[in-house]
Subunit: 253 residues, 8 copies
């Protein structure tokens, strides 16, 4: 249940079309309502409180658990849905009951793209830049998340600093974006370079791509936290989803 | 030289009051101009490009070097000025020549607050929350930065999760702020709790406060990067300045 | 051989029903007796000394070794038995000879639940709380251990701080429990929040659930050690068994 | 205000001696009441909710801030008071106004020992064991905390495993204690050895004592988390205070 | 070629039975002789210089490479031979050509036990102690190495400190051994306890056995390096072979 | 397009054989030209700018992506080509279209060796030394890279410091080489010893070979960074490719 | 009380010169006797059990505590005495009462050298080698310890691998020593090189000497643990004392 | 004694002016000669073997030791001299006897600049670039070292990537240098950007400049080791001296 649906209800109440009990009931049902299944406490109110239904983190959940949670969210909400870090096996198991669900292999995401009320503002673009081709899966997770949360998204992949003219070739995209997500492994230098070229916020996503001493993304993570450019916020290693959500929240400010 | 001053110049050129050479000269001087002193390359154009003059990072600079750089920026720009992580000794040495300069002991910041053109939008507040009293110096660095960059700022100090009703007592501030900066040491749990209460972006600043296994802020840093709440971006340990800038850039979007 | 059995023997001795040699023999057999198999030294006396037979740590043991040890303990003790971190293959190999043995897939535990003398005191509940569904397997290891050691146990799963009302919905369980075990991965903030809500001891179990910079539970471990709430004791990463035992020892004080 | 004082008030209300407004007022004042000083939010209700007034963590607080907080707690509560990790300078500054305050050099603690209602149960002793003489300051912090919170405390210092008969000489103290706090640096082996000798909970406190590769307590911390003995909960490096509180909560169960 | 063979040659030369060229030739061939195969430089002289032929480290070598090296050593030396950390597949590939070779599954070692001149001195025993059954494979690597290098070896497995009477039951073995190898994972406390019970050197071998925060043996490694007992030397994690060699060198002093 | 081809074009322009537009076009096409495929931005100009076509890093790329990139580089450049860290599967997929491509199993490299203009200067040899046989695959990656980039290369494998005469047997190679690449795992001591024997630059490559506390190359990496010998530059763990390129650049100075 | 003194007593008892009560008394007093001072448990029996009186670790002890412990040991034992890691201030405070005490500035050791019964066997020398001059203080701690424990000691300082001929100039010392202690910071390569030149045990002591990435001795520590040479045992960073004791125990085997 | 002096001697020998004994004597004296002072082994031959006298590492040496070593090198060699990481106190103590010695405060270096035979080749410049002003001291150590070893050196300070046009303003210096040393703290991104702009070798020096999570240079170190640009060799944190030597060796190839 989104704000819009609730406001519609309110207006109909004002117009005398629905009883006040229905309003109270709706509030009670959705705002802080949770449903417990022993292994999970689904938070139905998140859509009302935050504008987007609860996103399911798939690792460590059996395919049966994931299906129950995803289906309940599908039935009790009106917005787009995401199950992040899902496996193809988890997807195959739930697709029969939720035919609208799509699986994005690169982004490891099961999603439902059904919210027709979203307006993607082309004046406030989220730009996603990657250092290399190997960083693309994490970038795709960010891109898909930001898209499903109602943003206009653009990309600029494989623009690392080793051939920095590849980045400058896209200087217009960089200076006109409202938020930039930089996805980079190895030494993560791209975040600092992009941070120095824009006056808008940069979200840096370290990836686990690299030789031995990248220590699975630690090198890029530390580099990004120490960026000499200002206005850079860092999220967890390989956490494209988190970057997509943060960019979306900034964009909707 | 801010955008406003330059636009004024442009308008006067259009009105035939100034020659076109003056425009070119102004652009050349300010947009990408730097001045080198051997030990430093001052970037005068940053004010034009990013809306705020270059901020000086004081550690590792002699008091003579800091004075030269700060004075040059003072003379060649019109905006507010910041020298971060400065010592009182560095301040004492430059105050004679820049009487407007003020030293904030807690925030370890030398600053000049002179830009009368800034409009602090009370509808878009930056809220700064700390877990404890010991985190206040880092928070003050963030607060002063955000203030000098033209934001309305509010604070909520010593609201850590060990007595969580102290946080809920400020629930209105939290839900109405446009950006929230959470400053916490020890286990840094406050970032996740605040992140779950707002639909707006949260900037998490780990501090080096804590017993042995905080490892000078590492514990809080890792905790914040792993926040289960979405929409949290992390900056470096004790980096109140960086948080203030990032919040300001988000706020001005 | 439990305290009760030994006290029964003592009473019968006092009543002249058994000879004093039998008492000495029993003490010698059970209190410090060990039996060596080259690869293992079984400690039969632990049941007498600590009230619960030796628990077998299964990793690194061949299925043959595990069977011998488990069977010996089965024959020479009267209490409940546990082989922790066991595989299904290890279980299949020993079930023929010990038909009472059960395998709990989630908790990775082989156990025998046969001690009818245990009284689970409902006034002194151990409550197990998890941040997410993915933490449930570790929680189940703790729950089963505490149950087999004779405690009343309650659970509250998927109550992480990102939707903190899910936790407050269980405030009664939290304030009435005698010991609380908090199982959480990612940033482990739940331990601090729960620690602030109870005046009873909290046992924090970090789990290895999380994105890259959780470093397999290190982030949650450090967070829990640095908890700003008082009264929190930490056990090893994913060590649900250890938490169950510690809670049981506290509960029986 | 302790439970006892409040219950007294309640009884007098029942007896018609005080008006119901007074009860409401008391509740409002104490249960969740906080007082804000900008830099601090004092939690007066903690005494009522947890049985002991808020403890002040001194590092990072100016002596002025500490004095204000400590004095307010002194005036608004009836229990014993603690300011942990305090410096002599902080103590000197507040002793004029709070003549009852005492400074313990070894434990780095300012405290007020005034609660005459506490009954220290000699049947439920907390025993504090240290590996060496160098661990004594941390142990003293634990001892003083546990004492002020109303426990009978015993000690056994310099009993490390290098001369293990020194430990066995105290076997009676060990087997009869209700909770044992083990304080050890270097390799922290003492926690495991003590853990194997008692059936009661052990709280392990790693200290930063040791040669280079102790890495300021990391070696002992990891050792204690990996203890092969069951029933061991670990607190932060050098955190004697935390151990004292946890032991007290276990003891009062 | 061992010392004995060379001395025999020398004596025959003195007796006029062999020409001096033969002596020079022998020295040249064996003392510093190496044979190169591109991928390897076999050091045939090690037997003469150190009393034991070169030991082959198997990981990272193809089965073809291992076979060539092992066979060459087999043909050109007279002592016992070891290929450490070998796989069964590497063994199967070379057994046809070296029928004397044996594979020890637990110790992951291919060896040839053929040196009949070794005298194992029962008065100078090497004792190998493990904390648990899971540490046995590493202990077996140490035991087999020490045996093949000509030592009398005794063992005492599964004697960890959680049930310390199991260790004291073997106090005679401990106080009479000439060198003691302690093999332990988890917190590695056993090395300190044994170190306090003997006046002879202790070699500590940390193993990678343990829950999460053992970090694959790091916890035990740090603990052993920080042992409060004197006379403890540490080798690499799981390096039973290195411990066996060091013990042997000490024993032959 | 190499320098030679472009200079030929220039000379023909001077001779009036080609129009100046053709020169401009060539420059535009090659010097900074890139071609984008969404997932990749191929940098065709690198050959002109750096003398060697772009090298493809294969991990994280699908076999389809790798084939497209490698084929484009094959068609648009004249130099030798490298796809590093490739799998046999990636190779099999592209060999049909690029029959000249060869796969080196040890070096994990797909390459095309076609540049007949390279002159390998025998007076400026690059020498590659390894500590053990297990380090050979990384050394082969360095060797092949340096060879394809036009250098004379020599090797000296399995010359670790445990039998240091094996190294001194090659003292002539060491003192006559122009650049030396030292490839070593475990403690990486070889880099310091070689560094002390030459007055030429040494490139140290730590490998991930070793027992537990090598921590996948960290031990060798730190050792090499701390080399007491001067003139040692370090590259990433197992990064034979990077060492080969750096040696080549030094050699061509 | 040393073995010799006790045996003398025994012989006199046999000769009828002393009563048997005196023997019992002596045993009781010395073998397992400890004396407690609250802060310390002095282990008088260590001299009888291990052949050398308890050594006092000075850090964290007040000068008063150190004086009491040292004086008691001085009075109740006959052997040489050591207080390790002592400060000059601690020494000045106790020298009045123990005029025989000497302070070695480099080794940071207070000692009493009075045991005339020690025979230093010149055939079993302990050789101490350092990489540089900066490692000498740690080496001196080892040398003095080994000397006071009754060994013949030789040194070879500043023989690091960067100029390896400096080491080979002492090849006779190296090949004739019975035990070698290698003291080195930075990359610690010297341990491996020396380990390859001797067939006797090597004790490696990492020091905290080095540039940034030595991480206070961690680099040398890891290198030594990963030594490719066999027969190397490692002690803690900067722990010259521990190395001296271990060498002494090996030497007296 | 440099190559030149020795060759002069040789020519005079050929001309019959000096006896052959003198040549032998010279070789013996200088090539491998060392002089021992107990605490130090001075390597006089290094000048002959490597072209530059031994450089003295000052930390951990007493001022007396440093003076003896430096004076001996001053008397027995003809080249420039360096004592790195020296303190002013060490300098003051030796200046009386070596009046030519100069102390560079920023570079923490005592040096003697007297070798008139050095020819600095302006065609083969070493360029030193720093990210910020705070990195200048480390850069000065590199610059002075390279200058004293006979190179033409140029600098470009405070050109970090946050204002990347400051770097591009010096593109000519960058593309024309023969070797580039990049000195940067924080995230060290400058090494990658410069590495992508030159076809010559880059030496990266991480500095310990930065906020908390730079962990004293670890962040920059890891970033530089993971540089996506090829041809980058890394030296130790803050090791300007090592970078200067490596650059010099490359430059003289």
């Amino acid at each position: 249940m989104t704000d819009k649906i609730f406001l519609e209800l309110l207006r109909r109440y004002k117009a005398g079309e629905v009883a006040e009990e229905k309003i109270l009931d709706a509030l009670k049902k959705f705002s802080l309502a949770t449903e417990s299944f022993g292994f999970a406490n689904i938070d139905y109110g998140r859509e009302l409180r935050q504008g987007f239904p609860e996103v399911v983190y798939s690792p460590g959940k059996t395919k049966e658990q994931l299906k129950i949670i995803f289906k309940k969210l599908y039935e009790r909400s009106a917005g787009n849905l995401i199950a992040s870090r899902a496996s193809r096996e988890q997807f195959e198991f739930l697709r029969d009951e939720i035919p609208e669900a799509i699986f994005d292999e690169a982004a490891r995401m099961i999603y439902v793209d059904r919210d027709k009320t979203l307006k993607r503002d082309e004046q406030k673009k989220i730009l996603i830049v990657t250092a290399g081709t190997s960083d693309v899966p994490v970038a795709e997770e960010a891109r898909l998340t930001a898209y499903l949360w109602g943003n206009a998204v653009d990309t600029c992949y494989d623009c690392g600093v080793a051939g920095i003219h590849r980045l400058f070739a896209h200087i217009d995209k960089i200076t006109s974006a409202n938020v930039i997500i930089v996805v980079a492994g190895m030494e993560g230098a791209l975040a600092s370079v992009v941070g120095g070229l824009t006056s808008r916020p940069v979200i840096a996503v370290p990836t686990s791509i690299g030789y031995g001493a990248s220590f699975k993304g630690l090198a890029a993570l530390l580099a990004m936290l120490n960026s000499c450019a200002t206005g850079v916020g860092v999220v967890n290693i390989d956490n494209g989803f988190g970057a997509g959500v943060l960019a979306s929240k900034i964009n909707h400010g």
